[in-house]
Every structure is written in C-alpha cells, then in structure tokens.
C-alpha cells in the first residue's frame, strides 16, 4: 500500500524531523529530542501534527441512530458543540478502535457528526458506517474527509495562553470535550478542548491548504510521535493497534479500563456481550507497572509471578521522561492486578522485579 503523507511533510523534513511509519502514514517521530519535546508539553506548550488521524462525517435524519448503534457511548446525550470519547466494538464486545465523536451544528435541519478514529482506519470505518446504514435502512450521508483536513494538537499548561494570542480568548472558555468553529488567519477551523497528553490542550482541524499558515501561527516546540507516545503512556491512555487490536490483542472496553465509554442503555453492536461481561467481570485487567530492577519494559514482554508462571503481558513501555523511571502498561490476571503487587518482567530471558502501579503515572492536569 502507498505510504500516506501529512500536508506538512516537507515542512517537517526541512525542520529536521525524523519520521516513522504509523498506520500507513509517514509521520514526524522526533524534531529535537523526545525528552525536550516531552518536557515542553509537561512544563509549557508543544504542537503535534496529528493529520494521520481519520475524519469521517455522518449527516442526515438518521445520523444519530446510526452512530449510536456503532459506538459504545450515548450519542443522543450530545448537543452541537459537544464531543465524547467512545469505543467502536464488534459483536463479541472486542474493541475495533477508539474514537472521539463530535456533534456539529445541524445541517439543513438534520444532525451532523464528525468522528475521528485512529490513523489508517478511515476507509474501514467509512465502509462500516455505509454497510450498516444500508443494512438497517437508515437515512444518512457518510463521507471520508481525512484528506481534506490537517489536524494539530496544541498541548501543555501554557496552551490556553498561546491560543488566546493566536485566536482569541473565546476558545479558552471551551470546556473539556467542547468544540467550536472559528476563523484562524482567514480559514474556518474546528477547535476542540481535547488531547492525548493529560495536559490542558486543544486540537485543531484546518483545511489542508491552510495547514502551513496555521502551523506557523503557533510559536512553540514542535513535537513528534515519540513524545506523543511517552506522554500518553504516563497517563495510561490506550494506543489503538497496540494496547488493543482486534486481531493481535483482542480486548473489550472493560478489560482495557475504558468501561466508562459504555452506555448499556443504548443499543449498539457488542452491547449484549458487554452486558454479560460486566456481570461476570473480566479475567484480566489493564494496569500500570513500574520497574524496580534495571531494565526498560517494552511491548510484548511477559509478566510472571515469583514462581515464573505467566500472569500477564505488557502492551506498551518506555522510560518515563517525567518520573525518570521505567514504566509499562499491560494486562494482568485480575487477582494479581492490585496496585502494589510484586511481579516480574521477563527482559531478554532474565526476570526483573517490578510493581503494579496506580494509573496515571503522572497526575492529570486536564
């Protein structure tokens, strides 16, 4: 498959960014150093190009019902300018992806939504929405608009002050998970108070042709996917395709600690399986771990007990730049998943001591 590129690929290369393949996109992974970029977001403000995220619009008389039946949360609770985090599950309750659903201003008197699944999932979910619309005989138009938008995340304790300079004070009055459209440098953009870092922050969708103008409006540290990963691991936020994946790491929202995205009062694909699981509880739980011995936890490492019996596996791990200690995320057998439990991580054949740790690793500021 052909590699996809964000609108600012050449701008990032000129700025000295190194790149990596992610979800079929070639994206900046590091501009300066992960530590520098990570510290900017925790201490001041940084900007990420996240144009690889998918954008799909759903508009029409039945757009609410369609989206409600394909995501785990209650879409009917959204007013225009609200957004919500949700999972997209299959019939057995396993997460296909996580997403943010934005309710936009009504379009010709009909409800309109934009939802943002992860990178490289745009065609899959456009097809899923179309197929279910047709199967259920609903009236809604569905359009994959991923290539029409650039998306930037401005994150950090000073993000409100920076936004107030570039846009105006009104956007800093947005509550968490609220969004609005606003003019930036003559282009209509959508701005939401959302993010993936645990810090105060905003995400901005702007037309592709405006990408360079708007990127340059924000005079702050450019950040790559490397820092995006260390920041989200410190918060215990899931990475689609790694902490869950329908093929390689099939997990339900309850196992993955995002049961709060499920509204069992709504009828959605996967609801019945999840209703059963909530009553039965899960065999494994998503946890944080901190290494006590030297070593860095990584995706795929096995977790064992003091007898060497496997009790879980890691799905993410890194050296935490904020805490300066090695941290990981993964799934442990429920009886072993309580914070403070001693476990061991198998690192290149050697067992290293570690401890189950409360999430998030770094307290949330947003």
């Amino acid at each position: 498959m052909l590699q996809r590129h964000p609108p600012l690929a050449d701008v990032h290369t000129a700025a000295g960014a190194s790149t990596t393949e992610f979800g079929g996109w070639e994206m900046p992974v590091e501009f300066d150093s992960i530590r520098t970029e990570h510290a900017a977001v925790r201490e001041s403000v940084g900007i990420f190009d996240v144009s690889h995220m998918s954008q799909i619009e759903v508009i029409g008389p039945d757009s609410t019902e369609l989206t409600n039946r394909l995501t785990t949360n209650d879409v009917t609770a959204l007013s225009p300018s609200d957004a919500q985090y949700a999972c997209i599950t299959r019939e057995d309750g396993v997460i296909l992806d996580d997403t943010v659903v934005y309710r936009c201003a009504d379009h010709d008197g009909h409800p309109a939504y934009l939802f943002i699944p992860n990178a490289g999932h745009d065609r899959q979910f456009t097809d899923r929405w179309i197929d279910h619309r047709d199967e259920w005989d609903l009236d809604a138009s569905i359009e994959n608009t991923t290539d029409q938008w650039a998306m930037f995340a401005v994150q950090g304790p000073e993000s409100s002050a920076l936004l107030a300079q570039v846009v105006d004070d009104s956007v800093t009055a947005l509550n968490r998970f609220e969004h609005t459209t606003i003019d930036i440098s003559g282009f209509e953009c959508r701005i939401a108070r959302t993010g993936y870092t645990g810090e105060n922050g905003f995400e901005i969708l702007c037309p592709t042709q405006a990408a360079e103008t708007i990127w340059n409006e924000f005079d702050c540290q450019p950040c790559g996917l490397g820092a995006r990963d260390t920041l989200r691991i410190e918060m215990g936020f899931l990475l689609s395709g790694q902490d869950f994946d329908p093929d390689d790491q099939p997990r339900t929202p309850y196992e993955a600690s995002v049961g709060f995205t499920i509204d069992l009062e709504t009828e959605f694909v996967g609801r019945d399986a999840l209703s059963d699981q909530r009553e039965a509880e899960t065999d494994q739980q998503f946890v944080g771990i901190t290494m006590l011995d030297r070593g860095v936890p990584r995706e795929g490492y096995t977790v064992v007990d003091s007898d060497g019996e496997q009790i879980g596996e890691l799905t993410s791990g890194t050296m935490s730049p904020t805490r300066n200690e090695p941290i990981g995320l993964g799934y442990l057998d429920a009886p072993r998943a309580a914070p403070g439990q001693s476990v061991e991580i198998v690192v290149r054949g050697n067992r290293k001591r570690a401890e189950v740790t409360n999430l998030p690793f770094v307290s949330k500021q947003s």
């Binding site: 000295g16 992974v29 590091e30 150093s33 992960i34 530590r35 490397g226 990963d229 260390t230 030297r294 070593g295 860095v296 990584r298 890194t318 050296m319 730049p321 090695p326 290149r348």
Partner: protein, 127 residues
Amino acid sequence: MDFDVPEGLRYLESHEWAQIDSIKAQIGITDFAQDELGDVVFVELPAVGDKIDAKEAFGVVESIKAVSDLYAPISGEVTAVNEALFNQPELVNDDPFDDGWMLQIAPSDETELDELLSAAEYREQIA
C-alpha cells in the same frame, strides 16, 4: 548533519568504534549511532572476565523509542566496564567517544583489525 568521526579509531558497519593500542581496545558507539537512537536510557553490558566475539552481539543499548544490539568490533576478554553508564546512560549521547565508552577488552586476534573500517571509510558509509 555533520557527525564526529575521529581519526585513529576503527569502525564497524553497525556503528561501533574501537580505539586500539598495543595491549587493550576501548569500545563504544559512534556519534551517528547515538543521534539515530535518540535519548539513551539503558545500557546492558557484559562483566569483566566475559569473552566477546567479533561481530557478535555483546550487549544492548536502549533509547526511549528503540532497543538495539551492540556488536563487538573485535574479539577478546573484557577487562573493564564503564559502570557510570548504568546510572548516567545519557553519557552515550553527550560524549560517545570519551565519557560514553562502554568496554575495554584484551584483544585476542589482532588480524581482526584489518576487517574494520577506517575513519574515512566509515565517514563514507554514513554520508
């Protein structure tokens, strides 16, 4: 970008260097390698007395984003390990050819030297 490639050292294609005198060889990774890795956060090295073999993995270096094997430029017995790296792995980034050294070994086969790259040859490889 310009990377430091000191004259007088010998290099392996996998970006390790060796500084060799009549009795010992000091080993580390190059400026190019540390830049490619990014922030180094962990180094795993053999112990004094262990034997290492030319072109075989002798340890591991981890940055925030990646895990990489370290390859021995030449064979020999480890005579010293830079234990400062265990608490300050960032020395590999800050000073890869000096304070960021990894091992000293007593070389067991001097003919292996001929297979290593000169500074000029290594400079060409990373150009």
